[in-house]
């Protein structure tokens, strides 16, 4: 009896391992954002984004810690965390979505593919549907994904005081750069 249970367990594990080859992940993905105004340029970088892509369904998941965004100036980082995104209250931002034109991508063949990713972006306690363009590069069994898009702080209930409103762009440019590896289990 014990052996049957053990065998079933093994079978489930193996089945999972086979299935897992469709999935690619990274824990060191990069997300940066840029705000450019005549008054001041602000940029921040986050190098510890966790993301998973399922090549079978085209689903993509991203999660990022707000406090892990690093700015050039300590004061900018402080304002970002304390006044704008309130990272103590909302420590994470996440995106959950899928590639809408999955048939255009051949994950088994090296190449560069243009994709559109549609899903929900959650930040500062607000969830908004977004649709962004991106590129997927398949090379030697690894997947690289990149995207650039804009978000408006106001869409996520982030209020910026009038005094500094001119220093922060109405549309913040976000760039995403992920190097996925096959998920081994």
């Amino acid at each position: 009896m014990k052996k049957i249970i053990l065998n079933t367990l093994l079978l489930v594990l193996v089945a999972n391992a086979v299935q897992a080859q469709d999935k690619f992940f990274t824990k060191t993905g990069k997300i940066s954002f840029f705000s450019s105004t005549p008054m001041e340029d602000i940029e921040a970088h986050n190098k510890t984004t966790t993301s998973v892509i399922d090549t079978k369904s085209g689903k993509m998941e991203f999660a990022v810690l707000m406090k892990a965004f690093q700015f050039e100036k300590a004061l900018m980082e402080e304002h970002f965390n304390e006044n704008y995104v309130e990272s103590a209250k909302y420590p994470k931002a996440s995106f959950s979505g899928a590639i809408t034109n999955l048939s255009a991508v051949d994950f088994k063949k090296d190449g560069t593919y243009k994709v559109t990713v549609k899903g929900n972006l959650t930040m500062h306690g607000v969830t908004k549907p977004v649709e962004v363009p991106g590129t997927i590069v398949v090379k030697n069994g690894a997947i690289q994904a990149a995207s650039t898009f804009s978000v408006a702080p106001e869409d996520f209930n982030i209020t910026i005081p009038n005094l500094v409103r001119e220093k922060i762009a109405k549309q913040i440019k976000v760039t995403i750069d992920m190097n996925y590896e096959p998920l081994k289990s």
């Binding site: 510890t48 966790t50 892990a68 100036k73 300590a74 004061l75 980082e77």
Partner: protein, 139 residues
């Protein structure tokens, strides 16, 4: 009258200097900062997975010295170093990013080594994330 103008000028100058100093306030230097907590990697992950809210309360923005076995260490294209500490979990660990400027503290370290990494805790995704890390000497 002239005296007031001079005083006004000095006051404005002082405010400008204070403003500039505040604006250019440096980042906290993890290398010289005293760590608020010293923990082992598996215990840290355990605290975050069992009660994330409480762990956030305790660790966020704090300088934490984490001891553990190096799972993986790799530089990125900009010269920053990603170091992962093993936490007795197949999927999760403690991810430490070491900025380029402190990269030499990780020189010679390879997977399997026991190290203590000091950094600012930013929370947990799957792994606990520490930024602005340095590898502590003498471990």
């Amino acid at each position: 009258m002239k005296k007031y103008i001079v005083i006004a000028f000095i006051a404005v100058g002082l405010i400008a200097i204070v403003g500039l100093v505040l604006y250019n306030k440096p980042h906290r230097n993890t290398a010289t900062a005293k760590s608020d907590f010293a923990v082992e990697a598996p215990a840290l992950l355990q605290e975050f997975t069992s009660d994330e809210a409480a762990a956030n309360q305790k660790y966020l923005d704090k300088v934490v010295a984490v001891k553990g076995k190096v799972n993986a260490i790799a530089p990125d294209e900009e010269g920053n170093i990603n170091l992962t500490l093993d936490a007795n979990d197949a999927m999760a660990g403690v991810i430490c990013t070491i900025p380029k400027a402190d990269a030499e503290t990780a020189a010679g370290i390879k997977a399997g080594d026991e190290v203590t990494v000091k950094g600012v805790c930013t929370g947990v995704l799957m792994d606990v994330v520490l930024i602005r890390c340095v590898v502590e000497k003498g471990t």
